[in-house]
Amino acid sequence: MANGIKLVDRPKRWQTPFGPDMSDVDIDRILASKPFSSMDQDKFPASTSLRDIIRFDARIIRAEPGQIILREGEYGNSAFAILSGQVQIVLGDGLPPNLLGRSDDKGKSYAQAFAQLWQNNKHAEARKLQVNTATDSENQFVVLKDLNQVFNDYKCAPLPAGQLFGELAALGRMPRTASVFVDQPTKLLEIRWQGIREISRFNAEFKQAIDTKYRENALRQHLQATDLFTHAPDEAFEEIVASTLFETHGSFDWYLDYKSGKRTEPVIASEGDYPDGLLLVRAGFARVYRSLGSGQQTLTYLSAGDLYGFHEVYDQSQGKESRLETSLSALGYVDLIRIPLPLLEKYVFPHMTPPEFRLRDHKNKPLENNLAEDWLVYNRFINATAAMVIDLDSCVRCDDCVRACASTHDGNPRFKRHGKVFDNWMVTNACMHCIDPVCMIGCPTGAIHRSAQGGEVIINDDTCIGCGTCAASCPYDNITVVEIADGAGRAVVDPVSHKPIQKATKCDLCHTNPGGPACVQACPHDALFRVDFDTINPLNKV
């Protein structure tokens, strides 16, 4: 690195407003409209006033008829308040991809990728030191040309001014569940989720409303998405929603306990208990186990869409005396839907053949066959959608994967070829692009987010302020905070504190690179894989 330092103001939260052109007049108007007009501004601290939240965490979108605001299946990091006009939510199967204007994320062309060969900076962690306005590819809006045709062909529901939408996916770190477009000139306020979180912290009514809506919407959407009630008539759905219970076990901040070495697993159901209903996992993970000697034998784990207690309640419905055959505990946190037996007897069991596979059948495996799964569950690797796994029996430690990673990231590798080992498999310290990316929870600027198209967890280097919250939250230590340099290799230092400026870095799964993860492509010995552990969950093989 060259000698000398470069002084640059330390990036701060709100240094880069979400929308660059929010005026005081706009803010006054927004504060006078619903739902903000009913909020007590005095309850917000001076450092995080409601006014500042609107100024820095929100932006106004003036949408024209036909403009698509949200696209089903994409990941989003913000919610929308309707200031004037109205939006239409597409129900049912949703709009086809061609109408949604689906296209690949703007990635590098082959020429741009090739040019990295000579364009990569020779200095470690060098940056161009320019701060851009926050961008989100989700907001490159697509327009529906023939609205009448859309209304004829698809079922839509209007949402009037004063309502909030999109908060479910933004807060739950999940894909959007429906497409939303406008059918008349409409003014929207887009608020990034950090702003919603702040408002929820200081306004109890808003938090209550969000929570209630979150639970109601999540419950309804999940029940509609499941195959269980395919034979239930439409008019029965109200009864199903009303009779079904929504439960959350464990803590949404589970990673804090995990990082401190605790493995708390609140018990949800115990072996031998009376089965009072079927449990359907909506989000998170749960462990199925049974007592064995003085320990517990993990049989399998459940994730979104999996069922617990199915056979036991089925036996119950057939008049057999039945007890739960296994126990269930929350791994971190888990959202469950409890479907009571009478509903199942009415809408599910008459239309199905008796189930063959039972969760307890997992215990018929030799104990050593459970070790790998036990290890995955214990280390919470089940959260991964793209864990980097290396077969140590094939890996020659040549580091071609590390070099390939560096060559696609301006000369800086974004993972460490190091990690926890089980048998001949190593799960390396590379971002696993989790199902539940807890690293996103505390980010004050929204720099760490999911890409709209593929859902990879990525960091916007321009808006990252290097606070390290994401690195501290990551349960797997897969995010590294680095000290940056300028193009000439000089250390970049804050003129006030004289401390180096930092940025969070991690694997981005080469999401802009043609050909996908360079590490996988570069391994000559077929030793490196990106693994979604859910695809090898035994439940998926049944």
């Binding site: 090739f114 060559s407 077929d526």
Partner: protein, 268 residues
């Protein structure tokens, strides 16, 4: 991948057969068969070199490196009969030709040896236990050394005897200074642990209770050091065989190009 490998090996075998057949046809037509076999061998050599180029271009999708390695190995093996077809013998006459074939054998031999290493050494590394990044080995050894020194200080303070200090100066300092028993670790010999046991046997009768407690911890650190040494030896071999294979390959390419030039200038 197995299917792809079979296809690549079949293509390589077919290429050898086609070249041999073409050379035979040229011979029957009273033409020079060495032109066909020579240029075919040169083309294959260039294809083999491209594997290294592909490694530098990992930012663009140029077929996975795994497929390239299979091509490299299969066509590398196919090159042997093609070169023999070209030279007409295993060891041709003429000094320049002998240097050329000598380099070729060195490249082929080191390539086959490297491939064998890549199949066998990773398993040995895993059986050694732990996973140590090669570049961090000096740091690991430094840490171990500092811990050993600290244990000896504690033992001397607690016992008032300098037995361990003397032993450290006489032999343990040598052991902990840097990776040792390189070839023993490579061959899988028991010499490193035998050396350790011998040291322990000769020293233990002279140690008091406090010193013994420290020495037991030092023994565990010696075990760990042996493991690090094993990783060092195996990973060094995995890394440095390429430092032989690549320069010799480069020399071979230069000699071959000069050979082609000379042939065109004087022989054709």
């Amino acid at each position: 991948m197995r299917r792809k490998a079979i296809i690549i090996w079949l293509i390589a075998a077919t290429l050898v057969a086609v070249v041999a057949w073409q050379a035979r046809q040229a011979h029957l037509a009273l033409q020079n068969p060495a032109i066909i076999s020579g240029y075919s061998a040169l083309a294959v050599m260039i294809a083999l070199v491209l594997f290294n180029v592909r490694k530098k271009l990992s930012m663009i999708p140029l077929v996975s490196a795994r497929v390239w390695l299979i091509i490299h190995v299969a066509f590398g093996v196919a090159l042997l009969p093609m070169v023999w077809l070209h030279t007409g013998s295993l060891w041709p006459e003429g000094l320049y030709e002998q240097v050329l074939i000598g380099l070729f054998y060195l490249v082929s031999g080191s390539g086959i040896f490297g491939y064998w290493l890549s199949l066998t050494v990773p398993r040995r590394l895993r059986h050694l236990g732990g996973e140590i990044i090669y570049e961090r080995i000096p740091h690991e050894l430094h840490e171990v050394r500092e811990q050993v020194k600290q244990l000896i200080f504690e033992a001397v303070e607690a016992s008032g005897h300098e037995t361990l200090t003397l032993e450290y100066k006489q032999s343990l300092a040598w052991f902990f200074a840097r990776p040792r028993f390189f070839f023993s670790h490579l061959s899988g010999s028991r010499r490193p642990s035998a050396w350790q046991e011998q040291k322990a046997q000769s020293l233990k009768p002279f140690l008091g209770e406090a010193e013994m407690r420290s020495f037991e911890k030092i023994e565990r650190l010696m075990d760990y050091k042996n493991k690090v040494d094993g990783h060092y030896a195996a990973q060094s071999f995995l890394k440095y065989w390429l430092y032989f294979h690549l320069p010799v390959s480069l020399s071979l390419i230069i000699f071959v190009l000069w050979h082609v030039l000379l042939v065109h200038l004087y022989a054709l």
